[in-house]
């Protein structure tokens, strides 16, 4: 396999962009990407997106992106893995280059969630769960996560206020990230007093509804230096799955898909969790952050909440996690999130991330999941 590099990145600020459709969001991200590279001539397009069919009545997404990016004629496809679509799109783009098929591939993640009332968006998001046996009962995605959170608190004797520390930290980092959707600071009390979505999950445990697009230009080692002075190598890619339904899973608090994706990526990169300097992980809800940290091997099962309480994984620690503000504060335009994460890690490793910086870093990791840790990708990058 050939080596693959991320040669440039571009993002839009995540927001309720009522004045912009898919085309405009993609266009802004790609323009920022073009400004980030010396040469821009992708031969193919991969789009990460979840809900273009259910909320935007649009398929054939790669053609839409081609037109928005001035690339008519280039082939491509959409990758769907629910909220994990973006990370999986990067994995697909990686494969197109590693295989030798192309030298330059444009990976775009795009999602629009704010055009509809929350109940409509909630219904569309619930399609990440087992429709026949979960969503048919009116069970929302937040409720499934809330059920897991209650089990976590019960088994590991974590208190509700302990689990409020994560969103507080995310808002602190988000306040310094110009691309973040939520840029206000909050307190533990704010979290505990916020509206109940699905008890025990409250509004401020949840990522916001927002629109966004992010783009990453992947290139082969043959052209990397022609495209960028600072190409960042992708050294590990892993994917994993778990049951579509929650009921037939071995243990809801030991996410198999994360474990398997991480093992594959670490092995391919030749590193262990302790080597990772900076990570962007999936924290759609507070409980998702805890399970992601544990599944990635940064803490043992049931221990991540204590580590967070002790100040671990914060800026200055190794690994520093979610310096962007995470899904919680940077925002979570579902199918685009994984591409944002990879773009942020690239900027962290180059040293030009516009928010809280990790400092000198060699290895970065992006972990993105769809469903309740149903489809997970882990991507490891090296400076």
């Amino acid at each position: 396999m050939r080596r693959v590099y991320a040669a440039g990145v571009g993002m839009t600020k995540i927001d309720r962009h009522y004045d912009k459709g898919f085309q405009e969001l993609v266009h802004i991200a790609v323009k920022n990407l073009v400004d980030d590279v010396k040469m821009f001539s992708p031969e193919a397009i991969v789009v990460g997106n979840m809900m273009s069919s259910s909320l935007y009545q649009q398929d054939s997404l790669a053609a839409l992106v081609a037109d928005a990016a001035g690339l008519r004629g280039r082939g491509g496809f959409k990758v769907e893995a629910a909220c994990g679509s973006g990370g999986h799109a990067v994995a697909a783009g990686y494969a197109l280059i590693a295989s030798g098929l192309y030298d330059q591939v444009l990976v775009v993640g795009v999602e629009k969630m704010s055009d509809y009332p929350t109940a409509t968006t909630t219904s569309a998001l619930a399609q990440a769960a087992d429709f026949e046996h979960e969503a048919i009962y009116g069970v929302s995605f937040a409720a499934l996560n809330a059920l897991v959170m209650r089990l976590y608190m019960h088994r590991y004797e974590a208190r509700r206020e302990d689990l409020a520390l994560w969103p507080v930290r995310m808002h602190e980092y988000g306040s310094q990230n110009p691309y973040a959707q939520l840029r206000n600071r909050i307190t533990v009390e704010d979290v505990l007093k916020s509206a109940v979505i699905a008890d025990p999950i409250r509004l401020m445990d949840s990522s916001p509804i927002g629109d966004g697009a992010a783009a990453v230009l992947l290139v082969s080692e043959d052209v990397a230096r022609k495209v960028s002075d600072t190409p960042i190598q992708i050294v590990g890619v892993g994917m994993g799955s778990d049951g579509l339904d929650l009921t037939s899973r071995e243990d809801l608090l030991n996410p198999m898909s994360v474990r398997i994706a991480a093992e594959k990526a670490y092995k391919m990169a030749g590193v262990e969790p302790m080597h990772i300097d900076v990570a962007e992980i999936h924290d759609a809800f507070t409980i998702t952050a805890l399970l992601s940290i544990e599944g990635l091997g940064f803490a043992k099962l049931g221990e991540s909440w204590r580590f967070i309480k002790d100040g671990r994984f914060a800026s200055g620690d190794k690994p520093s996690i979610n310096l962007s503000g995470g899904l919680k504060a940077r925002g979570h335009p579902v199918g685009a999130t994984g591409v944002y994460q990879v773009a942020e890690i690239v900027m962290q490793l180059r040293g030009d991330f516009p928010g809280v910086k990790v400092g000198k870093a060699e290895y970065g990791l992006a972990m993105n999941t769809g469903g309740v840790a149903t489809l997970t990708s882990v991507i490891i990058l090296k400076r």
């Binding site: 929350t118 109940a119 409509t120 909630t122 219904s123 619930a126 087992d130 026949e132 046996h133 979960e134 969503a135 048919i136 009962y137 009116g138 069970v139 929302s140 937040a142 409720a143 499934l144 996560n145 809330a146 059920l147 897991v148 959170m149 209650r150 089990l151 019960h154 509206a195 109940v196 979505i197 699905a198 008890d199 025990p200 999950i201 049951g243 339904d245 929650l246 009921t247 037939s248 809801l252």
Partner: protein
Amino acid sequence: MSPARVWRERGARYRLEGSKCKKCNKVFYPPKPACPYCGSLDVEKVELPKRGKIVSYAIEHTVPEGYRHLAPIIVALVELENGVKVLAPITDAKPDEVYIGMEVEAVLRRIWEESSEGLIVYGIKFIPIKE
């Protein structure tokens, strides 16, 4: 939602049918054509016990379209007497009465109506056992 789709799922949703793997003998719900544990493609349908205990639950206040009249929905993961887990709503109970470990029993209830003239979908809900 099509009538055929609702009809195909009648075993799992009306009778609480799961699957049993003929190779490793594990039983699971919902029924699947392959064993999620050992990967065997040889499984058979089995009816599951109707009684169990709540493993965990959530009280859902922000509810998807079409279910608003049911809010708040109590969503529970129930471990049946044979160890198989089922996810379904709890009904005939108030949110503050529900607790982890609570004993419940499966009943057949109306779960969704397409519209005033459309399909009516039935399925499993759990009620507290009062003895």
